[in-house]
Amino acid sequence: MFDWFDTLFDLVQTRIFETVVQPIAYSLGLMAYSEMAYDGVAWFLYGMLQILLALVVIRPLESLWPAENWPDRRGTRLDIVYTLLARSGLLPLVFFVMLRPLTGALDGWLRLHGLILPNLEDLIPGLSEWPLISFLIYLVVIDAADYVRHRLQHRLQWWWELHALHHSQRMMSLWTDDRNNLLDGAISWFWFAMVSLLIGVPPGQFVLLVSAGRIIESLAHANVRMSFGWVGERLIVSPHFHRLHHAIGTGHEGRYFGCNFGTLFPWWDMLGGTANFEPGFPPTGIRDQLTGVNYGETFLDQQWLGLRRSFRAILGRKA
């Protein structure tokens, strides 16, 4: 059914790889990594497709049914830069290059001492022959691990100071998903890499797993007055559900330091007592922004302020 899509995708991937990427790898003496680079071209194309899909499907929804009416969208522009950095594959490439030797060394060391970490396929007989089911199970497990990571981002003060940048957007839109401090991103990738190692995600596929829900995450951040209904809200994260996570008053405050931490599925919030399904589309942001606390207007400002506040939190000083 999707053969035409596969054929077209392969054609573009091969053309980019053979005419641009492989000659560069050859001239830089990096041919040992040529197969990874070939996969990298696919990640880049997936990212571009995600952006295209977001523009074609989600952006019109923001115009038709906005949760908030803005006089203009200038406040969302910097988030587009974050999105392009993340979904072009540039940041994932940097994180991957940084982390691969680390995870490889750890896995190799464990094996040298006789321990081969089990794959999910080792625990569930026959799963090897059902790759789609296997993929979905991995997706659910990764999402559960992401819920734990997100809870810690809000709970640990030094981590929150990095993560606050993501929450500081008061014009939350389809571009906000990737608005993150770079160190926060690197730590998150390290988290994914460790979980992937533990459950046996193929190195080349874990990026695909992480990327799989990205279009849902774009929709979840969109400035859209949209709820999935009583049942739907409990099946998958909606723009309404996630807006409450970003809302002043509920998103980063209270007993659990926020609510609705789930990335793709709200199930973990329901199990963990952090789900909030109350109606309404409240304004987004961080409460102290109302009293003038600044999270940066430029890319460098935002990065620097996050790092400084996080460092001060580690030292036990006031931000």
């Binding site: 996969d39 193929p202 190195p203």
Partner: protein, 322 residues
């Protein structure tokens, strides 16, 4: 009249059996490393007849020394999958084989060796029962293997440190390492055991190494991205695939001259030649296809769609690979 009828029905049954047998296609097994599947191709009709999941990142495969089983190495699943080489059906799995990227049995059938490209290890197992004997840490990215005929040494190409290592199989230790050129990949030991040929993937030549003297004696210009070898079985020629220039060269290793060059699309990798010497089959890594070269004309004969990033290829009726 009963006896003639019985004879007739026996004859008909025999004919039917023969017809069924002849209708059974000759299978080509292709490992699609990127999507973890196996494609089975009908060799006579050049078409894919089945694709099924096998595990994570199957890269290389080899026939067992007795010719009865086909071993597929699933590197990320940490296992061997044993197939029926004639039907492609899965017979059983051998677990706890750590990251087997490349695999090989020593000629004396005593050792089974795997190279772990991702985790920088060479593992030596007893071939009978796959019991791990030694796990040898290696410099970065050990990829291809070649055994000496007396089974005393296995050579390993180290892609990220641009070296060749020689491993003593009896002592299970690295004997020596030497420079090989940028990003060495495929290895081939000439039948007289004199020279080790190295496909230098980061450049455009075959490095001819006098391994006893541990020195390079010649560089034979081939395509850019020299990668894998396949002997033609005549003890004179070997094919070498080149990823970047997308070609396969036919090398006469007696004269050390390239005698023919075949253009193949999509980064040719592993190869298999038909026993009658008429066709050369190769996986085209970067276009998700298997390419078939007509060796009489030197032209591309067929291109067959398979899964993502096809790597190993095998069919039973192939030319001798020693």
């Amino acid at each position: 009249m009963k006896p003639p009828l019985s004879a007739l029905s026996l004859l008909l049954a025999a004919l039917a059996t023969a017809a069924t047998a002849s209708a059974k296609p000759e299978i080509v097994v292709v490992l699609n490393s990127g999507d973890g599947t196996i494609s089975l191709l009908d060799k006579g009709n050049y078409r894919e007849i089945k694709r099924f999941p096998v595990g994570k990142e199957p890269h290389h495969l080899m026939i067992s020394p007795d010719g009865k089983d086909l071993y597929v190495a699933n590197s990320v699943s940490n296992e061997l999958v044993i197939l029926d080489p004639d039907t492609g059906e899965i017979r059983r799995r051998v677990p706890k084989i750590s990251d087997p990227y490349q695999l090989g049995f020593s000629p004396d059938r005593k050792w089974f060796v795997t190279a772990s490209l991702r985790l920088d290890r060479v593992d030596i197992y007893k071939a009978d029962g796959f019991q791990l004997v030694k796990r040898l840490p290696m410099p970065k990215m050990p990829s291809h293997l070649a055994f000496t005929a007396d089974s005393s040494i296995v050579f390993v190409s180290l892609q990220d440190t641009n070296e060749i290592a020689a491993v003593d199989l009896a002592k299970q230790e690295v004997m020596w390492k030497m420079p090989s050129g940028k990003t060495p990949a495929g290895l081939y030991l000439t039948p007289d055991q004199k020279y080790l040929l190295v496909g230098v993937m980061g450049e455009d030549y075959i490095n001819v190494i006098d391994w006893r003297a541990k020195k390079s004696v010649m560089k034979i210009h081939a395509g850019k991205g020299c990668h894998q070898f396949l002997p033609m079985g005549d003890k004179v020629h070997v094919f070498v695939s080149s990823r970047i220039d997308s070609q396969i060269d036919k090398l006469n290793f007696k004269t050390m001259k390239i005698e023919a060059t075949y253009k193949v699309p999509g980064g040719p990798d592993c190869m298999q030649m038909t026993a009658d010497g008429t066709e050369l089959w190769t996986t085209s890594r970067f276009i998700s296809k298997v390419s078939v070269v007509d060796l009489a004309t030197g032209k591309l004969k067929k291109v067959i769609r398979v899964g993502y990033s096809p790597h190993g290829v095998y069919f039973r009726n192939h030319a001798e690979t020693n």
